[in-house]
Symmetry: D2
Subunit: 358 residues, 4 copies
């Protein structure tokens, strides 16, 4: 095996470059994954722009699909050469947060076991997977075998996009017969739409401003689509529901405006399920929040990880319940990742997700 | 029985006066309750000040304890002469909101069955109970017998204060071993403190600025008290918890500052349980909200009603689990209710709750 | 309007006959529904055989679809001439059970508000709907309008079959990615299969002994079907799941054998969701129950009722999520209901459900 | 440090003997705990009698309190010399069961991640802690520091008795105002009684046949005690509740009779929370189970483990919410453990729990 590899590295705001780096050493609890396919996330674009700070020199990327190249001495239950992926979030498994079912807030190594976003390590606090190889920490908690019959592209949404998007419906407790609105139909919003349908919602209203995304939303299960460039989504949702509002509103963009719109379309006692990454403060207007007396719930969620989560998402793909194949609109070699960033960051050419192959 | 009665009536902002009114007619689903004891709520003070609008001429008050004077033709299961109370919230029982377990948002009479705060009728949309008599709507859903061994004052907190305060712990899912902070120790905050203890919290941190209220908080179960006039409660709570933060923070005041402080003391994945009535917009600062990635939950709750809720709260009193007797600090005749408002609105003389007896 | 009507009446074990009866008087909280379509339930066959005792002279049937003929004086929110149905279970809305979210155990009229199966009144404790007219008690809690675009047959499963079957998945907390087994694919089992799919299960294993029912199970969402006349379902399910077992096993027949098989196919920590009506004692074998140490849950459910439940089920039909049209295999006039019983009780001619029209 | 140690070893049915054994080698994920205090569990008596089979030569015991003697190479977050305990159940942290919140069914090492009772390793599948030293597997998931102010005896109930007993209330979802019955008031039943009180139950009915245990039950929070040798507990509980029955019945003995009695005292829609270890098959009589139509829930639970669980239980002790000091009725040196078994197995001299100190 080579000792050097190519990796997409954050250099400074505005610059992510492909560089040579040593292939990582494998500790006792780690696994080395040879990447066969990965992708770029909206969060990576925030990193590129310097809006989300990471250390200079860090390899970016947190959506790995690949083959197990080497296993740590203490890792059992897997074999080298096996296809595998991991979630974008790779929790330790043993922190207080993990034991409380909130593994994304994994505080392994802290005195009390909690750390905000602590489970997000790949491409954040340790080297990520836009590279030829990536080191997976706490491998026994994170490695998920990929079923033979599925291609890399079919499972490429599992690590982050599906896990995050579906959690919008799951943590919002979407139930059979619910009316659900999903604000924004980028990759995560589309998965939230699909997750709402899988959870039994019978009226799903998808909001976006890009016709291709609204068309894709219909494929994912939306019963109604609203182009916010043509009509006011709050007014339109209230009209569609006869003034009742929705049981669950899912925020999948990350702006204060969509967040507030979610609140305004909720029926009393409804749930705002928030997936967005917010760079600005949010507001709960007293009227929209019914002065605190509306029995509302606001739930924010960071992408759930761990191999069992991945197994469940893989089973969704394998069972044919949902087909996310059409999500991958563009393909690049790792050598061309800078061009991929350029396309993706500017949302050119109807891009939804890009597949990157070393 | 007399045909006229005395009632405390909202006249205009700044004026609640005792007036003569006809004793209400009893419809088929109603019960007429002769009030033996009632009280004044912070919300009534908002009404007095014109901060919460109600119709001129409305009888105020929503915390009735009394004796059943007359039952509607279709009401069974109770007898005239029986002691009873009802919740501040008197839902219909048959709306969609009721059937979904969110009866406080009772939308009986609307097309879709939901109405924000719709369950709050007494002293809001229909005549209330600061009077000699009050008409209880949907009596079979709302009348709760008062056990013989309990005095009016012992049960006077049930209709609103206990029901609201306890719901802060209940809807926050306080569990055995939780660390809980309660911001503000007025009557509702004190009940939230008691509710957190009853739910198994093992570290309860109570915040207020009035020494008597902090002393009462200790009696209700607080393990630590923080006088916010002497130290910064956010810093102090983080210090007390070793930087971890609390599992559940209960807001029991209704200001944007306490709301934000609640958010700032949460551990990742924690729950903000909001009880306050907010007249201003609230803010979720991006940092305190972990940019949406902290798995936080924000739950707002309006006082739960219905006779089963009341029965459970009465059983808390009857079992001796909590003693709220000391909450009633002052007593007035209904004839002197204007003086009672004056004392209570200005929080003079260490007042917590006043008992009003016709 | 006529004063007499035809009704299918339980006479004695083995005899249900069509008789003349007075059209019911409408009390203040009632509604009189003119039946346009109804059906026969497996429970009605138990009544016919005398296995489930009801009073002689009682009109049987609990699955009404019709038109509102007359409304009680205290009923608002509906109009005469409107199409409507109700659940098989018609709870009062105001009992303790209703307020606790267990309306099927409605104890209205009891001292404490709970009564086992108390919500089931139609065709059990009061006259049912295999008749030209039926009186709906507590109409405001129970009447659900039928959307214009749906035929009677399309909605005929809502009152009982769908509500019961779906509750198998719902009360079993079926989640995205679950492996679910459904024992028996009669009408309720088929709806349980459909409900599991609607709830996100990705591997659904349906068990029955009738090829037509297994074929229908596949249409309803089963990924695997097992004919128990050809292979042992317990062994086969363990084989299909690689020895793991299922997350949720739904019992939809009502025998001790299927109940025990459900327990034997559960993974540790799994849930047995029981829908069957059992005439014999059940057994929890110490080995299958892991000596009490397996973290198993056993949940039994009686068909949920109330208009909000019906609205949600109607929305499932209206949205096209599931099509139960093929469930109605035979049609009879009310005049021929005795022949319909004969066919249905003996499960002749591949019958699933019959439609009865006055 | 010595290389040999004393350990209580299962030899054959009827014989547990103190023997010399090598002090265990410490693997990379392990910790070696020097036992300062341990105890004997009812389950150990089953092992002694051969009713629960373990390998000959196995060291028994699963309730360790001690001092960290040595840490595995990959273990961080603890220091040698630190006081610590672990749960009786020592899950891996990384199996599917752990990630699903059912760590007691830990299936680490299996293909699918589930194994009935798999989290119970100490004194079951690996050497236990009735010895001078015990090896703790997956130490980072299991070691819980003991607060300085607490004695060994004060925390001795945490590993199993409290964790199991409290889970009876927790998994039964005991809520404020609940009526709860606890069948049997041995150590686990007493903790279930305490757990029900901590969870807000306002009427707790404790059943046993030993006056000292009933007296202790009152200290732990029981409002009523029933001596089953003097009256029929089912009839008495129904009488006490006015025919209503209880919200939650906790089985804490492990016999088919108490299990069935639990079912018979439930209100419709109630929960049977089962803690017992059953050596015989259980029965759900059709009448007591309301023919499957009573909306009952039966939940079985194995002692929850993991350091966060232990931390929470320790906080219950530390906060003074409950005092289990009186549970330790007898004290023995490890050298005399055979005498301790003799006393405990025969429940002589009012024994509740024994403290064993090396």
């Amino acid at each position: 095996m080579a000792t050097m590899m190519k990796a997409a590295v954050f250099v400074e705001p505005g610059r992510i470059e492909l560089r040579e780096k040593p292939v990582p050493e494998v500790g006792p609890l780690d696994a080395l994954l040879r990447i066969t396919t990965t992708t770029i996330c909206g969060t990576d674009v925030h990193i590129l722009k310097g809006e989300y700070p990471v250390a200079g020199g860090l390899t970016v990327g947190h959506e790995p699909v690949g083959v197990i190249e080497r296993l740590g001495a203490a890792v059992s239950g897997f074999r080298e050469g096996q296809r595998a992926l991991t979630g974008a979030i790779t929790p330790s498994g043993h922190s207080a947060a993990c034991q409380c079912g909130r593994a994304a807030q994994d505080g392994a190594g802290t005195a009390h076991g909690w750390k905000a976003m602590g489970g997000w390590r790949l491409g954040n606090t340790i080297d990520g997977c836009q590279a030829e190889y990536v080191l997976i920490p706490d491998a026994m908690n994170n490695l998920a075998p990929v079923p033979d019959g599925l291609t890399d592209e079919q499972v490429l949404m599992c690590p982050d996009i599906m896990s995050t998007g579906f959690s919008g419906a799951e943590r919002g407790d979407v139930a059979i017969g619910d009316i659900v609105a999903v604000f924004a139909q980028g990759p995560i919003g589309l998965c939230a739409t699909a997750g709402a349908k899988l959870s039994g919602a019978t009226t799903i209203i998808a909001v976006d401003g890009v016709p291709e995304r609204l068309a894709m939303a219909t494929r994912m299960g939306a019963d109604h689509v609203i182009d916010y460039t043509r009509s006011d989504p709050v007014a339109e949702i209230l009209r569609l529901t006869g003034g009742r509002g929705v049981d669950v509103a899912i925020e999948a963009l990350g702006t204060s405006q969509t967040f507030e719109s979610c609140l305004r379309v909720l029926r009393p006692g409804g749930t705002l399920s928030s997936l967005g990454v917010y760079s600005a403060d949010l507001r709960l207007p007293a009227d929209a929040f019914a002065a605190g007396l509306g029995d509302y719930r606001i739930i924010s969620t960071l992408c759930p990880g761990g191999h069992e989560r991945m197994r469940r998402l893989l089973s969704v793909i394998e069972s044919g319940r949902v087909d996310f194949g059409a999500m991958v609109t563009h393909r690049f070699k790792l050598d061309d990742i800078e061009a991929a960033y350029d396309l993706f960051a500017h949302q050119r050419d109807g891009v939804l997700k890009v597949a990157i192959t070393p």
